[in-house]
């Protein structure tokens, strides 16, 4: 497909992969500067209450303890964990370093800093806290109904909104279908637990090493919180052992910096798995009600959604997240009348936060489960029903008023259906009986490409050719493991026609690399990648100019290939210069440096699409579901690094199957998370995963580098919907209370049997 390219579309290991397979790459847990202290947190065991008193006497006696912190000796100032610039919309500052009034079981109450982790742990276990318990509101219903208990000063409703486009005039004989889908809290489950290291040196400079997705946001929050000059704070992105949005927000940078500033020694805070589950962030639980009116021939007339998002105890990213739920369905379907009402509600539970897909997996799962119910009522193949309604390339997103660009969701569906043999399987499996029932399901998904149309989306970088012809690309990347650094190398290598291995790419460091709002929001390939391409083109120009000067030939007579610049065929004499010669002579003879700087402003924000097909086998005796076959189709514009893209989809499917079937951070009636470790929080493992096939649709119709669009988030959007639809197909049920645990599956089987 991409034979006109030399590197684009090939398969390359991710940056640092060599150091990852040898165990040589240092992650946060491996870093140990001289004089480093270890911090350990004390977390609240109760969901709501006042921290009246902390007896530290026993803890202080533990040898090696340096200092103990709590709200009694820390600032009471608040911060917001996801705001990138001061004054940012929807980013209410309501999270403290340490709670004076705890608002969820798991909130930070105190911390011990000691010269060994063992000492810090022991001291934490000796802290004696007296709480005055307050009534806890554990569900959004309780929180909305109970006016007497206020989790935040303004009450329990964090935000509400209403969006409506188009006119309401469904025809009289329309079919009206209503559904309710409940999505659950999930843990991001990056295998690397959260970690942060900070040091405040004698000159008054704060340096923070953190596996973050946005160093400039971290710096801004720290500067405003501690009243430090931005120039006296250096935030360095270190290797990340997975994030999925879980490390996107600035959860521990403020508290670790505070402890480092107080002790004047490097302080490292490392979480264990339980702490990651109960006190970082969770994918929010969302209740989605959908009502559609559809013509008898299968055209959507009206789509009315209502969502209630459980924000947890603070604001964080919840308002933005909740509002984003309203922007997904109109990217996927043509809807003459669209209305979405939504709210985010504070509860005394673990804070919700950014998670891969930022609202799209939640709302799209509900939409796709609903669409199957409509198709069933119409007695239509779900594939046909979707073809009646999916968007076309260059449709307009009526909510955000943006072009959807070269939106190829229809092609994903049609090509995928063919490869999956959808029609035969859909009709065949519906007839099967017996203990093990098989079904197939499909789901479509839409996501975006960056922030254009709603938020800052620019990035700056420099590219320099060294004296030997190698390159240094200086960019604020935050590779979370999905290969963005390698993608940048591929782009630059393609433009300048040299081996990607000759390029070194930086990751983000506020002191050394250019401004970038952060690597999330599906903006990296589409926008940072486009910047890399333009930067490389700018450098190419400069190299050609230098070569022209050296050869004393007009630029127009020169061409570039395989690390050399040539005089073109047909010119009087054939001359060749290697990049090395050009770079050396540019400095020596032309007194110039082969370096360029570039800032790129994203001009568009098209849709990225994926359609996924699942086969599920349900054991009707045990209620256990296995996903036995899976195809993920992606509208990726252009594949830059094929192997990594396939891996992104396969990993997304692992996450999506868990979302559909088993993953949930459950909170008991006393407000405590019950599955606080991997023993009780189950991730799908290798024997339970199908071999996921991946089919890529490439059209390069949009502004990304060589046409490339985002992959990492869209890949995770339709998975759960496809799996749930397959289970419902197998059983003839309409399950929509996630996850589909064996108990729920058995109950649904019993219900259909009773009815039948």
């Amino acid at each position: 497909m991409s034979k006109e390219f030399r590197y684009v579309g090939g398969t390359f290991p991710c940056d640092q992969a060599l150091r990852k397979v040898t165990g040589d790459l240092l992650y946060g847990c491996d870093m140990k500067p001289a004089e480093m202290l270890y911090a350990k947190l004390l977390l609240s065991p109760i969901p709501h209450g006042i921290v009246k008193r902390i007896d530290t006497a026993g803890a202080e006696k533990v040898p090696g303890v340096v200092k103990i912190f709590s709200h009694f000796n820390a600032p009471h100032k608040m911060f917001n964990s996801c705001r990138i610039i001061p004054g940012q919309k929807f980013c209410i500052e309501d999270e403290p370093l340490f709670a004076a009034r705890v608002k969820f079981a798991g909130e930070r109450v105190a911390a011990v800093v000691a010269d060994s982790l063992a000492a810090a742990r022991e001291a934490v276990s000796l802290l004696d806290v007296e709480y005055e318990e307050l009534p806890a509101l554990l569900t959004t219903e309780e929180a909305l109904n109970n006016k007497a208990v206020k989790i935040q000063p303004g009450g329990n409703l964090a935000d509400q909104y209403e969006i409506e486009v188009g006119d309401s005039a469904p025809a009289a004989d329309c079919l009206v279908v209503e559904s309710v889908t409940q999505t659950q809290r999930t843990h991001h489950a990056a295998i690397e637990p959260h970690v942060c290291l900070a040091h405040y040196d004698g000159s008054g400079k704060l340096t923070v090493w953190t596996p973050t997705q946005g160093v400039f946001g971290v710096r801004s929050v720290l500067a405003e919180f501690f009243n430090l000059s931005y120039s006296k704070i250096r935030v360095i992105k270190i290797p990340i052992g997975g994030s999925f949005g879980g490390k996107q927000e600035y959860l521990f940078e403020p508290v670790t910096s505070f402890m480092a500033m107080e002790t004047r020694r490097p302080v490292k805070l490392m979480l264990d798995r339980e702490e990651c589950i109960i006190q970082t962030r969770v994918r929010p639980a969302v209740r989605v009600k959908i009502k559609t009116a559809v013509s008898r021939s299968g055209e959507l007339q009206e789509f009315i959604a209502d969502t209630t998002l459980d924000a947890g105890a603070f604001t964080g990213s919840a308002v933005d997240y909740s509002r984003t739920l309203a922007t997904k369905a109109p990217k996927l379907y043509r809807i003459p009348h669209y209305k979405h009402t939504g709210r985010a509600v504070y509860t005394n539970t673990v804070k919700s936060g950014g998670a891969r897909g930022w609202g799209a997996p939640e709302i799209i799962t509900a939409v796709e489960v609903h669409m199957d119910q409509v198709a069933k009522r119409l007695q239509m193949d779900p594939l046909e029903f979707r073809l009646h309604n999916l968007v076309y390339p260059y449709d307009r997103d009526p909510v955000l008023n943006l072009s959807l660009g070269d939106a190829r969701v229809r092609e994903c569906l049609e090509k995928g259906a063919e490869a999956f043999h959808w029609k035969e399987r859909f009709h065949r499996h519906a007839q099967e009986g017996g203990r093990y029932r098989r079904g197939v399901g499909l789901a479509c998904g839409a996501h975006k490409n960056g922030m254009y149309g709603g938020f800052v989306d620019c990035t700056s970088m420099t590219l320099r050719m060294n004296e030997d012809g190698s390159l240094n690309l200086n960019a604020s990347l935050h590779d979370v493991g999905c290969g963005t650094a390698t993608a940048m190398k591929i782009i630059v290598a393609e433009v300048l026609d040299l081996e990607p291995d000759l390029i070194t790419v930086t990751e983000a460091d506020t002191e050394l690399t250019g401004y970038d709002p952060g690597c999330y929001g599906s903006r990296v390939i589409y926008n940072v990648g486009a910047c890399a391409k333009e930067t490389a083109e700018k450098l190419k120009d400069k190299i050609m100019e230098s070569a022209a000067f050296i050869l004393q030939k007009p630029k127009e007579y020169l061409c570039m290939a395989e690390g050399h610049v040539f005089t073109m065929e047909g010119t009087d004499e054939r001359r060749v210069l290697s990049y090395k010669e050009i770079a050396e002579r540019a400095i020596r003879e032309n007194y110039t440096d082969l370096g360029v700087a570039h800032t790129y402003y994203s001009p568009s924000n098209p849709g990225s699409y994926s359609v996924q097909f699942a086969e599920a086998t349900v054991d009707t005796m045990t209620g256990l579901t296995r996903v036995t076959d899976f195809l993920a189709v992606g509208d990726v514009g252009r594949a830059l690094n094929r192997g990594m893209i396939e891996g992104q989809f396969q990993g997304a499917v692992q996450m999506g199957i868990g979302y559909a079937l088993c993953e949930e951070v459950k909170i008991n009636d006393r407000g405590k998370p019950v599955n606080n470790g991997f023993k009780k929080y189950h991730l799908v493992n290798a024997p339970d995963m199908p071999d996921v096939k991946v089919l890529l649709i490439e059209h390069e119709g949009d502004d990304g580098p060589f046409g490339a669009k985002s992959v990492g988030e869209i890949s995770a959007v339709p998975t759960a919907g496809a799996v749930i639809n397959a289970v419902n197909h197998a059983l003839g049920t309409s399950l929509s209370d996630m996850p589909l645990t064996p108990e729920k599956v058995l109950a649904a089987i019993k219900q259909t049997e009773d009815q039948g």
Binding site: K20, G242, S243, A652
Partner: protein, 160 residues
């Protein structure tokens, strides 16, 4: 609790060390020997990030106490490379894009290595079972399984 002296071998090198009876093998490797390639993801034997090979068997080093390795031989991810050359498994992980964030990778490699040491030509099912205790959140296992399969298809079964 008295420290005890134990002798053991790690990556072909003999060691004698005083250890506390409650020290985990994971901490001995990471904190005492500086072998930080072995990772900690859960501390309860569920994620496999801490997998090392003990006398030919893959074990979770977060569940093994340091005194238990007395007289035994441990291989960690740092011991895979021999004479400056990557182990075939490491090469195949690179070739097959089986490495994303890399945090599960050392443990994955060690489970795979232990499998190939015992069974040079495993079936796909045997491969999946051998890494059943190694969680990967990034890659969905397909590429990892393909890499292990490819390594096993080579003449020497990926083992030296």
């Amino acid at each position: 609790m008295r420290a005890m002296l134990i002798e053991f071998k790690v990556n072909g090198k003999n060691y004698g060390r005083e250890v506390r009876p409650t020290m985990r093998l994971l901490d001995l490797l990471r904190d005492e020997l500086g072998l930080t390639g072995t990772k900690e993801g859960c501390a309860e034997g569920e994620c496999g990030a801490c997998t090392v090979i003990m006398d030919g068997e893959a074990v979770n080093s977060c569940l093994v106490l340091a005194p238990q390795i007395r007289g035994r031989e441990i291989i960690t991810v740092e011991g895979l490379e021999q004479g400056g050359e990557l182990d075939l498994l490491q090469q195949k992980f690179l070739e097959h894009s089986a490495v994303e964030c890399g945090f599960c990778t050392p443990g994955m490699l060690m489970s795979a290595k232990a499998l190939l040491m015992k069974n040079p030509h495993p079936s796909e099912e045997e491969i999946r079972l051998a890494i059943a205790g190694n969680l990967c959140r990034c890659a969905g296992y397909s590429k990892i399984v393909a890499a292990i399969k490819d390594a096993s298809h080579s003449a020497d079964g990926g083992c030296r």
